[in-house]
């Protein structure tokens, strides 16, 4: 069994509640930092650990913390991004639902490091029952002296509040999240200034993902150097992967970032292989925004090397033949799935979630959706494929926030790798209504193994 640092206690009955969590070593990291470490010491350990933001961007967490401006007399804020909405991603929800105190513990330690006396958890509004779980965990932590004034006699004050959103994927973007937390529309801000200088209420702010903040707990308990030894190179530590689609065992798994994609997909410890005896067609390995990979590029890179579950290996080959680890939303497609339909559904998603500020994104996502709708429903023309390519290229890099890129990339990758399937839809509009294209050549090199 692989080493687990976040979900190691998930099987303990009642771990959701304070008493059980505490009995199993919970809140030890708060004791350690408040009694023996300065805030800068904590940041140093996190830097040494090599922890990278687990929300999708993979930016080094310790470095992000060290950018935080510290003008005298101005409050600083830590905000936890629990607006998990990237299609394919459901890991933070799992963590908050089943071991909420791990997040609260990580938040207290991280609040201490960043100097935040008022910390917010911005959670997507649809997770209504998790709001209640978190509020209960916060109340328990309060009652047991882990929150409030002068925690453990250290002189450090901290309060944590849960703030529900109301249904907007864009609020996962950190400046849109801050706007929303201020009671406004979730329109991303122009950067700079970055939140580290001017964030919530114009004050220096750090925004981190749920999993990132929870990971601070094992980093403090084992030390940054030890943590950095897990995984491969700059992909240090463990990562939660939420696996879904046509696999035998969908769910949330904690992996050490040193296993191969093949092991993750086929071993019984993780996904358990493709469901119903079907063959693998494609995979989106890091949430809907990252490029889709056909089967023949998923398990091996274009150079023929084993593809690993790391930031570097999954992006090997760039967007031509690679993808990204992203948020860890691992979506698997079997031979019966239609790439055109999937691409249309993702385009519709981004169309729905575009905030509308930047015209390339607002108009572009609309055009992508309309053209893909036509192709999916038998009204496509051959020149539409080039038009799609043209439109996505005009969105990418031309917007305030990365949602535009996130909308463009899945379309580009689908055309790059599955152009013949788009062409088949257009030349066989009636047949395409009755059946799917199937596997075609995408998995030829792997048929023996599958």
């Amino acid at each position: 069994m692989a080493r687990k640092l976040l979900l190691d206690k998930i099987g303990i009955e009642g771990i959701r509640y304070y008493d059980v969590y505490r009995k199993n070593g919970g809140y030890a990291s708060v004791e350690k930092v408040l009694k023996t470490m300065s805030p800068d010491d904590v940041t140093k350990e996190v830097k040494k650990s090599g922890l990278r933001g687990r929300g999708g961007a993979g930016f080094p967490t310790g470095l992000k913390w060290s950018f935080l401006a510290k003008p005298a007399g101005v409050p600083r804020y830590l905000v936890c991004n629990a607006d998990e909405s990237e299609p394919g991603t459901f890991k933070d929800r799992f963590l908050m639902e089943f071991i909420p105190h791990l997040l609260i513990e990580g938040l207290i330690v991280s609040s201490y490091a960043t100097g935040s006396n008022r910390t917010y958890i911005y959670i997507r509004g649809e997770f209504g029952w998790i709001v209640e779980i978190l509020e209960q965990a916060i109340a328990e932590a309060n009652n047991n002296g882990w929150l409030g004034k002068n925690i453990l006699g250290s002189g450090f004050d901290c309060e944590i509040f849960v703030h529900p959103g109301a249904g907007a994927y864009i609020c996962g973007e950190e400046t849109a999240l801050l706007e929303s937390l201020e009671g406004k529309r979730g329109n991303p801000r122009i950067k700079p200034p970055f939140p580290a200088v001017k964030g919530l209420y114009g004050c220096p702010t750090v925004v981190n993902n749920v999993e990132t903040l929870a990971t601070v707990v094992p980093i403090i308990s084992m030390g940054g150097d030890e943590y950095a030894k897990i995984g491969i190179g700059k992909s240090a530590g463990t990562k939660l992967i939420s696996a879904c689609g046509n696999i035998n065992k969908p769910g949330v798994y904690e992996i050490e970032m040193n296993i191969s994609v093949e092991e993750f997909l086929y071993s019984d410890e993780y996904c358990g292989g493709i469901a119903n005896g079907k063959r693998l067609k494609a995979c989106v390995p890091g949430g809907s925004s990252v490029p889709i990979l056909p089967a023949n590029l998923l398990l091996k890179t274009a150079k023929g090397e084993t593809r690993m579950m790391t930031y570097e290996s999954l992006s090997d080959g760039g967007f031509q033949t690679g993808s990204m680890l992203g948020s860890g939303g691992f979506i698997v497609y079997d031979e019966d799935q239609c790439i055109v339909r999937n691409t249309y559904s993702f385009a519709r998603f981004y169309r729905h979630e575009s905030c509308g500020q930047c015209s390339p994104c607002r108009e572009g996502t609309l055009w992508l959706t309309k053209i893909l709708y036509d192709i999916e429903y038998g009204k496509g023309k051959m020149k539409d494929i080039d038009l799609l390519w043209h439109v996505q290229g005009n969105i990418e890099g031309n917007t305030i926030c990365p949602l535009g890129d996130a909308a463009a990339w899945p379309v580009a990758a689908a055309i790059r790798h599955f152009r013949d399937e788009f062409e088949w839809h257009i030349t066989n509009p009636e047949e395409a209504q009755r059946r799917n294209y199937g596997l075609a050549h995408y998995a030829d090199t792997l048929q023996a193994e599958v």
Binding site: P87, T89, E126, G128, A166, K184, G245, S345
Partner: protein, 166 residues
């Protein structure tokens, strides 16, 4: 004239206290959730104007927020809202068929409400339950691994609850 109960006003005061002084606008999203729940499941102009007075905001500040977020209903809805996910991962597990089945079973299309005012069908984008697809949101809960049988049971459950509470 609509008005929050004393208990709800206290709850709102509590929420406002989560934010620094003078930043009560931060409470707008949570308070709109409460308003929607209290005043018929949707946000009428009257409701939005009232929320503006409670939080000392201009009405436009409330309108622009209410129209941005998908969880706020801007027209009347049924008592039970089936919000069925239609995004890619759910499609791989047959959400298209589930949506079609609910349409047939209730005789409504997405966005419509049954004549008895009990059910509204909404198709929504990813709710973060991809491993448990197909799925829908019903009130504060998620209903996952949907099948036709489960949909039947949920409809029955809603009908029984409605009868009980009438």
């Amino acid at each position: 004239m609509i008005k929050f109960s004393e208990q709800k006003l206290k709850e709102i005061e509590q929420i406002i206290s989560h934010y620094p002084e003078g930043k009560q606008k931060s409470a707008l999203l949570p308070v709109l959730h409460i308003a929607q729940q209290e005043f018929g499941g949707w946000l009428s102009v009257e409701t939005m104007d009232y929320v503006a007075t409670v939080l000392n905001l201009l009405p436009i500040e409330v309108y622009e927020v209410a129209t941005f977020y998908s969880m706020y209903n801007l027209k009347p809805v049924g008592r039970y809202i089936f919000e069925v996910c239609q995004t890619g991962p759910c499609i791989t597990k047959g959400s298209d068929n589930i949506i079609k089945y609910i349409e047939e079973k209730l005789g409504i299309k997405p966005g419509e409400t049954t004549a008895d005012g009990l059910f509204t069908l909404k198709t929504v984008e990813c709710l973060g339950a991809c491993g448990y697809a197909p799925m829908m949101q019903l009130g504060k809960s998620y209903r996952e691994h949907l099948t036709k049988e489960k949909v039947n049971a949920i409809i029955e459950e809603c009908r029984m609850n409605a009868e009980k509470n009438n």
